[in-house]
């Protein structure tokens, strides 16, 4: 793209995504106005609801934790130019991994349970991504289609396991029994209380927030400081060039999908182990898909993913408050999410071209 080259790097990573987000927000404001509510009032409610108290912050960070995991999952795959839409299914399977680990092994302490659950979640998520990865690498099956199909297969599989295997006898509810108390993760309230900072007890924010932040660093290190990361990025830039340099496309595809699936699966540690404390049918609640918006907005960089995840955490918590106090339903957030995906992902060139033109004008002067 000739237009892309004319934009300085700093503008490419800040100005372009920010413009897209502003456009998405403006359109959302028009929608709010069109249904007879005040956009300004809505923004105020959302900001207050998400950042005005430690309760709000707690929920914002809880949602953000989910989105960091799924966002990183999509971002790593994007680095290799693979579009993994299967985060939803991989996170569902990750939840199954967490549930099996927590239910069937008696853990003496939460820390051991956490390590095992993390491994279980990553393993199950990775395994679910392995099949589409293998089919793409070895059989040329389009990964977008296969990962979509695997989302649905995962939902059916989980439905079967919950109804026929994990559901306690006599219960009508298709969900697993509660995890034992030894498998309860310390919440942000508990952890901050140790250092004397008061924090709301209500939100399910827990220790996996720090795992998510650590994963941002780990993914950054993997992508920019290891040989595998170099190969992944080279493969993403140009498959023929990478192949010529001796990088096996099949190997990279499978590795990337394993990493991506593991990251998506890890989300379940936060949601299933940290919040619900049992496995329910709809454990992921679309977070796998939000990862797409988060990765696009974060320009597939772990730091960008972190920031975008906080933004979406804010939108989710703010949106819940909005639904509580106004007649604007929560689904407004889905619209904003769609617009962010549309502008940062699909209409990237539309946003980019005028910015490139501006810089070209300035350069000419």
């Amino acid at each position: 793209m000739s237009a892309a080259r004319r934009i300085p790097h700093w503008a490419d990573v800040t100005l372009v995504p920010l413009t897209s987000v502003v456009l998405a927000f403006l359109l959302s404001a028009v929608l709010i106005w069109a249904i007879g509510e005040s956009p300004w009032q809505a923004v105020k409610l959302m900001v207050e609801g998400a950042f005005g108290s430690s309760y709000g912050w707690g929920y914002t960070l809880y949602y953000a934790t989910n989105f960091i995991f799924t966002g990183l999952a999509v971002a790593v795959a994007f680095q290799a130019r693979l579009f993994n839409i299967g985060g939803e299914g991989q996170a569902l399977l990750g939840g199954l991994g967490v549930a099996l680990v927590c239910l069937y092994i008696p853990w003496p302490h939460w820390s051991l349970a956490l390590i095992a659950a993390t491994l279980g979640a990553a393993l199950f998520g990775a395994a679910w991504a392995l099949i589409p990865g293998y089919l793409q690498a070895r059989r040329g099956s389009h990964i977008v289609i296969t990962t979509i199909m695997f989302n649905f297969i995962a939902a059916s599989l989980l439905g079967y396991v919950l109804v026929n295997v994990l559901r306690p006898q006599g219960s009508q509810d298709p969900s697993s029994p509660r995890f034992p108390p030894e498998a309860h993760l310390p919440s942000l309230h508990d952890m901050l209380a140790v250092v004397g900072i008061p924090f709301s007890r209500v939100p399910p924010t827990n220790i996996s927030l720090f795992i998510a932040v650590a994963m941002c660093f780990a993914v950054w290190f993997m992508l920019w400081r290891t040989r595998l990361g170099y190969q992944i990025r080279a493969f993403g830039e140009s498959e023929p060039a990478a192949e010529y340099a001796g990088i096996s496309p099949a190997r990279i595809t499978i590795y990337v999908m394993l990493i991506s699936g593991a990251l998506a699966g890890l989300m379940a540690v936060n949601s299933v182990m940290g919040e619900q404390q049992r496995l329910v049918l709809n454990a992921v609640e679309g977070a796998g898909f939000i990862g797409i918006a988060v990765a696009l907005m974060g320009r597939n960089h772990p730091f960008g993913v972190f920031l975008a995840a906080i933004l979406f955490g804010f939108l989710y918590q703010g949106g819940a408050e909005l639904a509580l106090w106004t007649s604007i339903p929560r689904e407004l957030i889905v619209v904003i999410q769609a617009l962010v995906i549309l502008f940062t992902g699909a209409l990237d060139n539309m946003v980019r071209m005028p910015i490139a033109r501006l810089f070209a004008l300035r350069g000419a002067r």
């Binding site: 249904i35 059989r139 389009h142 297969i153 797409i292 769609a338 995906i341 699909a346 209409l347 990237d348």
Partner: protein, 321 residues
């Protein structure tokens, strides 16, 4: 399974397959022209909402159907602008369309009707009326032919028959007209079409618009024919099953009919029986639900014949200067 139940299952197969058929042909035409469309689901959902909402307000189902087609075409054009004009990623654009529809239908439904994101239930002329085929009553008691004609084929909404008619029409359009030849060429080798002096962009927009019309019909049948009103997320993955059927049919119209009948049959059977015994083996209902997706993966993996998409699919056309 006795004969009467078989007739009932096949009758509901025909109905359940109809939205799949429209959406499947929609995707087929779009992808034949080289524009991937995973936004079938969203367009169908938006169409379903508009059909139900406008049918309720106007009291006439056909005005609703027209509105459904309208909104679906608009969404198609958004996809077109993003993926054809601005050469954006077609898959990402499709994902955006799906979310846009999932969110905005509920926001607007809540704003218009205040019933928790659904439309009021439709009755009378707001719904698609069933049509009795000629001589259906007379042939009712004829053995074999009677149940098939009266029990299965007759007594559906008009769109069921329109859908069936769309199969030969699509086939004829794609393989027997100049427009179809060009459309397929745009999906295989756009540069050659361009060299012949035909606008690649124009052809692709045409295909995307047809895709929009068909998705609108799929959604309209969903909310006014299959059910009586719109509820949140009522497309429930049907757009993706249609996508699966399209791949299963390897982008061919007649095979698409077979694929949607198969997937419709699976849904009909899963609706009717919770657990099915096949050769003494209990098949859980979830397996029936997952089967279309599993079959599609198997086909994509090339274990049973290889599904090869149009060659230029998924990439925007950049004219050489």
């Amino acid at each position: 399974m006795d004969f009467a139940i078989l007739v009932q299952v096949l009758e509901s197969t025909l109905r359940l397959a109809t939205p799949l058929l429209f959406a499947c042909l929609a995707g087929l035409i779009s992808e034949r022209a080289g524009v991937f469309d995973i936004g079938l689901e969203g367009k169908m959902l938006a169409g379903a909402f508009m059909a139900a909402a406008i049918a309720f307000v106007s009291g006439n189902v056909w005005i609703g159907v027209a509105a459904a087609v309208g909104v679906s075409v608009v969404m198609s054009l958004i996809h077109g602008v993003a993926s054809i004009t601005f050469r954006g990623n077609q898959l990402i654009s499709g994902v955006a369309i799906n979310f846009l529809a999932a969110g905005i239908t509920v926001v607007i439904a809540q704003n218009w009707f205040r019933q928790g994101g659904r439309t009021p239930s439709l009755s009378g002329d707001m719904r698609m009326q069933r049509i009795d085929l000629p001589f259906a009553e007379a042939l009712r008691d004829v053995p074999v032919l009677g149940p098939i004609y009266h029990g299965i084929l007759s007594g559906h909404g008009l769109l069921v028959y329109v859908g069936l008619l769309c199969v030969p029409l699509t086939w004829y359009m794609l393989f027997r007209t100049r427009f179809g030849l060009r459309l397929r060429a745009v999906g295989e080798n756009p540069a050659a079409v361009d060299t012949a002096g035909i606008s690649v962009i124009g052809m692709r927009y045409g295909a995307v618009a047809i895709c929009g019309v068909l998705c609108g019909l799929a959604g309209a049948y969903l909310s006014t024919g299959l059910s009586a009103g719109f509820v949140q997320d009522m497309s429930a993955g049907r757009g993706f099953i249609a996508l699966a059927a399209m791949i299963f049919a390897k982008w061919r119209p007649w095979h698409a009919l077979g694929a949607v009948w198969l997937f419709g049959l699976l849904e009909a059977v899963a609706n009717r029986f919770q657990n099915i015994e096949i050769l003494g083996l209990a098949v859980p209902v979830q397996a029936m639900q997952a089967l279309p997706y599993i079959l599609t993966v198997v086909i994509l993996a090339g274990f049973v014949g290889k599904a090869i998409p149009p060659r230029a699919g998924g990439s925007a056309y950049v004219k050489e200067h």
